[in-house]
Each structure stands twice: as C-alpha cells, then as structure tokens.
C-alpha cells in the first residue's frame, strides 16, 4: 500500500540511538492454510447466476445479512431464512485511495465504498463503476448492481455498482 503512494512527513525532534546489528526472521504465511465452511454461501451464489440477490435473515433478530453469514453474533444462532433483495443500494461509507500508477508514477484517486443493499442490514466492500468521478461520491449515494456479462455463480457476477441518477443529489449540501 504505502510503496505506491506519495509520502511526506512532518519534521519532529529526533533522537538517535546506537544502532546494533539485527538477526533475520520470517513469518511465512504461505505455509499456512485457512479453512472455511462455505456451505451457507451456495444458495446465494446459485441465485447470483440467475441475476438474483438473496440475503440470509436471522430468525432471532430479523437482521438480513448480505452476503449471507454463517452465524448471527447477536443471537448466536445460524440464520436460515432466505429473503429476496432488490438490486439497488446506497453508499454507506466511502474513502478515497491515492494510488501511484506503477507505470506513469501519476497519482490516481479512487473511491472505495461500502454499500448497503436495500433491505439488508450489513454493508460490504465493492467497486463503483470506474467512470464515477471520485469527487461525486458521497454518503447516501444511491447505486444499483451492474451485472457481469459472464455469470459464473461467483461474487464476481456483480461486476460493480452503477450510480443511480438522483435529482436530490444537488440538494445535499453536506456532501463531501
């Protein structure tokens, strides 16, 4: 992350310490595996292939998880009710990443968004339509799923989110 961004730090009162030698050490995460149970994801992925969105509803607290979740923490039970969701959603939070293009060295601004699907009670990280200007991003921005041309029954079926034209947008005085 940091290597690709431009750095500039402020000066401060520094003190130098004796430099001693170092001994090397490594943490090979590549020797690790991570085991996950993805059984509960399957109906969701199957529906994605049909261009349909479903969330998993917890019978205890009625929260709808999108994408589905193994266990509802609040009730400590496995949610089991599938509910249909609409294709629209809204930007719940965003930030802008400043990335140096490795080729040109030019800094590019990219909005990173968390989207809450309408009807769901969780947010998740997705990409916005690359044509959306980062300056236009704001909290509460309505968005809609843009399906991938090649549906495979995977998360990549949602290629990105399109902006939904919203007349109220210009009235939002406090957009960042």
């Amino acid at each position: 992350m940091s290597k690709r961004t431009q750095r500039k730090s402020l000066d401060y009162v520094k003190k130098d310490y004796v430099k001693t030698r170092t001994m090397p050490g490594n943490w090979y995460l590549s020797s690790y595996t991570y085991k996950f149970n993805l059984t509960h994801m399957q109906p969701f992925l199957k529906k994605l292939k049909e261009k349909k969105l479903v969330g998993l509803k917890c019978p205890g607290c009625n929260r709808v998880f999108f994408p589905p979740r193994l266990v509802c923490g609040q009730c400590l039970i496995k949610p089991n009710q599938w509910v249909d969701l609409r294709e629209t959603g809204e930007v719940a939070s965003f930030t802008i990443a400043y990335l140096k293009d490795p080729g040109t060295g030019k800094v590019q601004e990219k909005p990173m968004v968390l989207i809450r699907q309408d009807g769901a009670d969780t947010v998740y990280m997705v990409e916005l339509n690359p044509e959306v200007d980062y300056k236009d991003t704001y909290i509460g921005m309505p968005v809609k799923v843009h399906w991938s041309e090649d549906l495979k029954g995977s998360l990549a079926d949602i290629e990105y989110y399109d902006l939904v034209e919203d007349n109220a947008r210009d009235l939002d005085l406090h957009k960042e």
Binding site: M23, Y28, Y34, N37, L70, Q74
Partner: protein, 380 residues
Amino acid sequence: MEKVGIVGYNQVKLYSDANYGRYEMIFEAVRGAIDKAGLKKKDITTVVSCTNDYYDGRTISNCFTVDVGGSYLTDESKVEMDGAHAVLYGLMRVLSGNHKLAVVWGGSMASCFPYHSARLYETDPTWERPLAYVNDITSAGFQMRAYMEKYGVSVDDIAKVSVKNRKNAAKNPLALEEAQNANITVKDILESEIYADPVTELMVAQPCDGIAALLLAPEKQALKITDNPVWITGVGYSQDTYYLGDRDLSTCKSMENAGKMAFKTAGIKNPKEEIDVAEFFEAYAHEELIFAEALGFADKGKGASIESEINGNLPINPSGGAIGGNPPCATGIIRIIEAAKQLTGEANGYQVKGVKKAIASGQIGMCAQNNILYVLEGSN
C-alpha cells in the same frame, strides 16, 4: 479463594485434519456449551478466548471470532497462552464480582499451520532462532535425557505412560483417532521412529484440530444454573526461566510452584491422599512423570511407581491426556473438562470410581516453562 463453578462445557471431537471451517468449529464448541447449560446468548457477560496469532496465521486472532465466539457486544478478552490460562482469566473475572457468567473457549487447527515453526517463533530471536537448534522437538529430547540421566529412569517406564494414555484414549470417543489404540505395547512405542532421541514419535502428544469451551459462574449463580456444578477451589500458576541451559530439566520448577499455590488455595495439605484423579497436559510421555513428581505424588525419579491406571491408586489422564490429542490452545481446557467429567460421573467408559477431588494442568513453552494447575471438587 471463593469457589467458582463450572456450569457447562463442550469439546468438539479431535481430528488431525478436520472437515470443519474455523468459525464453524468455534461456534459448535461455544453453542454446545451454552446449550448444555441451558442458557442463552444474553446470559453471557464475559468471554475469554484463547487463540494464538501464530497458530491462526493472522494478527489479532480474536478480531473476527466475535460473532461465532459469543462475544458480540460482550466484555471480551483474549489470552495468548494455553487454554488453561484462559480459564484462569475467566476465573479472575468471575471472582472479581463483575461478571456472572464467563465463557472460556480456546483452540486452533494444527492442520492449518506449521506447528514446529510456530513453536520456533517462541525462541530467543537474537540468539537461538536463526540456527533453530533449540525448538520444541530438541527440547523434548533434552528434557527426557535430563530426567533419565539424573534419576536412572528406564525408557520402558516412560513408554508405559504413552501406552497407558493411548489405551485410555481408545475409551474416550472425543480423543484423536490416530492416538487411540487399545492394543498398543511398550515395544510399539520404543520401536516407533525417533523424534528426538530418546523421545520416540509415539511418546509425543500430536498437535491436532480442536476447540473446547467452558462456562464459569460464581457460586450462587452456578447453583441456579445446575444442580451439579464442579467447583474450582484452587489455582496456581508459575513461570520458569527461559534458557534451557539455566534450568534443571529433570524436574519442573514451575509445576512445583503452581502446585504449592493451588494446593494452598484449595486448602489441601496432603495432595497424595486427597487427590483422586489427575489430568495433566503432558506434551511428551516423560512430562507426566515429571509433573507427578513435582507435585509430590512420588519421590523424584519414582514417578513411574504411581499406580496411574484408571483403576489405580491415583489415576492420571484417564481420558488419554494430551497424548490422546493435543489441539494447541485447547488442550488445557480439555484437561479441565475431563477432570470435571470425572467429578460429575460423565466420563462414560473411563470413569474413575469415587472421585471427590481432581487436578488438571495446562502448560506452555519449551519443556513446560509455564505451568498452571487447578484443583476441582465435585458438588457431592
């Protein structure tokens, strides 16, 4: 110390390569323990988990377990040692009077990480780690040799421990399948491949996958939840110095200290007479003898003379002990659970008769550097 009750427990079956996801396994253990006690999520006031960043391959290994571990909007903390130390922290939280029900869970999946490398990360990185001559394998060899040399203990006596534990494990349905063997002999143990001479492969507690959970409640609360709680009446823990070259490996100073503290807390004057069953976390067969001697159950070097079979004078590890399956971070909790089972009479198939007081231990570090010992008592 005031009594603290164990009101529920659960352990998933141990596998060398479990067909489980990590979160699923944690959920199964925690939910199972809560169900067993007939409680709900909202009854939990505090959760202490025991995982290790280097065992899970992620920093802040408790970060994503909030939902599955039952700590959603609950007072939560993580102990990064053995599971038995997490029980200690749960115990402290209950004893402080701030909490009514503590859930303690711990464990990891040894099939998912390079166990010996993760243990190597424990060594002094400025001196020992670059060459890796000191690791959990070699330290086991040093420890056993020191013990045998000092007291003239025969290797057969140590192999017998492994035979006993593996036979006991065969009666324990939750033990690791690879460790269960009802027909094993001393010869099999001695003829298995060399691990770190004189330790052979079958004397080692094999790391495996497993999670265990335990519920603790203060005295009055415990009696509300169950008629038959198991009481923790004493606890002691201690840490020895680090460098193997500084320590007398033929004995276990930290277990000695832990024992002194635990027995004093529980008001036990003569452990040899009063304790009916012991569950030790013996990472290697010889450690069981060393621990028993450190606690005064036998003279130094005479640990093998204890009748430690299930029907013996002082049964040790009737469940098969850590040799019957050693899921890192859970083993200590499982020892406490097994001791509790003996006290409530739930140890089906390996029940020791007439158990009134039991001890359970947990350890961490090379050659059991840090030990913790619990004294448990039944309610009748």
